[in-house]
């Protein structure tokens, strides 16, 4: 009788592990290729009485590139800001890696971003700038930083200060900081701006490599050729509204 009672008591102990097991399941599910990395439901954003984002619904998976296009002020950057946790929705939710932005986390945990001019520190070299940014998370080595700089076609040993860089070099360094920590979600707003042909090709290759690595890459661009070559799905932003379009319409 006593043994039976003990058996019943012990059978409840695994229940204590249930939250841990559930969180394990969640982590495992992140590796699922078809899992939604970004999930947006009925997102609205009003600023000073103006509708900036209107009823945005979106589900994006990892291992894909997504193209966003639309005229200036259509809301592309604002949508990226909402995904990055830099603005708070007036209504609706943004969930990234199963965590609600602004509720469970302030900013997505594994995010690379170019959203406005990155604004590096002018008196530092490119390498020193990236090292400063990398020191916050402290998850990559000096060699990783140098490799990221080389990937965008810059020299990690260049002793010139950032302020002496050309526009194209500044843009390349911006791309390097967005991808150096191998984030699972990458938001690139006009990534090929100010780049020469060689630079554009390098950035396109980097985006392809990041997609092959399994990252979800969101690209906002006026350059439809970039979007056509890189992306598997296309979204048009118009006055804060988002509609999915086909590749043919884009051409």
């Amino acid at each position: 009788m006593r043994i039976k009672k003990l058996f019943y008591q012990l059978s409840f102990y695994p229940l204590l592990l249930l939250p841990f097991l559930l969180s394990m399941l969640r982590t495992v599910s992140l590796d699922d290729k078809n899992m939604a990395v970004v999930e947006i439901n009925h997102l609205y954003k009003n600023l000073k009485g103006r509708v900036i984002l209107s009823d945005i619904n979106l589900s994006l998976e990892k291992g894909n590139a997504y193209g966003f296009y639309g005229h200036n002020g259509s809301g592309k950057s604002m949508l990226f800001r909402a995904i990055a946790g830099l603005i708070h929705p007036t209504e609706g939710t943004v969930t990234v890696f199963n965590k609600k932005i602004g509720d469970e986390v302030s900013f997505p945990e594994s995010l690379g971003l170019i959203i406005e001019s990155v604004g590096f520190w002018p008196y530092y070299t490119g390498y020193e700038n990236l090292k400063t940014l990398a020191s916050i998370k402290n998850i990559i080595s000096d060699d990783d930083i140098k490799h990221a700089i080389e990937r965008v076609g810059l020299d990690p040993n260049d002793k010139r200060a950032y302020r002496k860089y050309s526009l194209g070099m500044k843009q390349r360094l911006g791309i390097a900081q967005a991808v150096m920590e191998k984030p699972n979600l990458i938001l690139l707003d006009e990534p090929t701006n100010a780049l020469d042909e060689n630079g554009v090709e390098q950035v396109r290759n980097i985006i392809r490599e990041e997609v092959n690595r399994g990252a979800a890459v969101l690209v906002a661009s006026h350059n439809k050729e970039d979007l056509n070559l890189l992306c598997s799905r296309f979204f048009k932003m118009n006055d804060g509204k988002l509609t999915e379009t086909t590749g043919e319409i884009l051409k």
Partner: protein
């Protein structure tokens, strides 16, 4: 992160400018000793206190030390205000805690540098032996001044992030200083920030209550500012 931040700061023109201006301010008294000896004759102070009063009197605090402190702190806004920096902290609390840590370190650095200049000035006048007599007063004043600059930095930091502009942060924080300067002139007492930075010896009678009140206020405002900023949109940096 801190090591990288401060090595970045060491190369900044704002940092170098503020260090240089404060050094020039110290040198002024070496060329014009009258300004210290006037203080001795008016208040009948010993040399050390006259030198201290001259260095930290209301006018230089309001019109020189505080504006220079804002310039000294400008790099902090440039660093923590960048989206590429913010997102790497993953949450607002970590980001704000790092901001606060930098505020405390920089305020302590700033006051320590001022004391170094003050001591160099004392050394120049061969009055170092006086200094050791007042070591307890120095320690108390130092603590209050660090807290005064932390309060000022907290206001500057909050309004800079709130308006996404270091200039707006400077305008609001500095207007507090100017208002306090005129009020302290009319009513012959300071209210908060100048009262802490322009430490008069009679202020030290209230040292412990002042210390506790200031620490509590800093903690409360830090919590309040963090809550407000985490609900604020980060639009374009100006």
């Amino acid at each position: 992160m801190l090591k990288q931040y401060f090595s970045l700061k060491a190369k900044s023109k704002y940092f170098l400018f503020s260090i240089l201006v404060l050094a020039c301010y110290t040198l002024l008294a070496c060329f014009n000793q009258e300004i210290i000896y006037q203080q001795i004759s008016i208040y009948n102070h010993p040399f050390f206190l006259a030198n201290f009063d001259n260095f930290f009197s209301a006018a230089p605090v309001s019109f020189l030390l505080c504006p220079i402190f804002f310039i000294f702190r400008k790099d902090s806004y440039d660093f923590f205000g960048k989206p590429s920096v913010m997102i790497r902290f993953s949450n607002h609390t970590k980001w704000w805690q790092s901001c606060m840590l930098v505020i405390v370190i920089e305020s302590t650095m700033f006051v320590s540098y001022l004391y170094l200049l003050l001591l160099l000035r004392t050394l120049y006048f061969h009055k170092m032996s006086d200094t050791f007599k007042y070591i307890k007063i120095i320690a108390k004043c130092y603590t209050l001044q660090v807290l005064g600059f932390i309060s000022l930095a907290l206001i500057f930091c909050f309004f800079s992030f709130f308006f996404r502009s270091a200039l707006a942060g400077f305008a609001v924080a500095y207007s507090f200083v100017i208002i306090e300067f005129f009020l302290s002139n009319w009513y012959t007492f300071g209210i908060f920030i100048i009262y802490l930075i322009e430490v008069a010896v009679n202020t030290l009678d209230f040292y412990v209550p002042l210390l506790i009140t200031t620490i509590i206020l800093i903690l409360l405002f830090s919590l309040l500012f963090k809550t407000i900023l985490s609900n604020r949109d980060y639009l374009k940096q100006r």
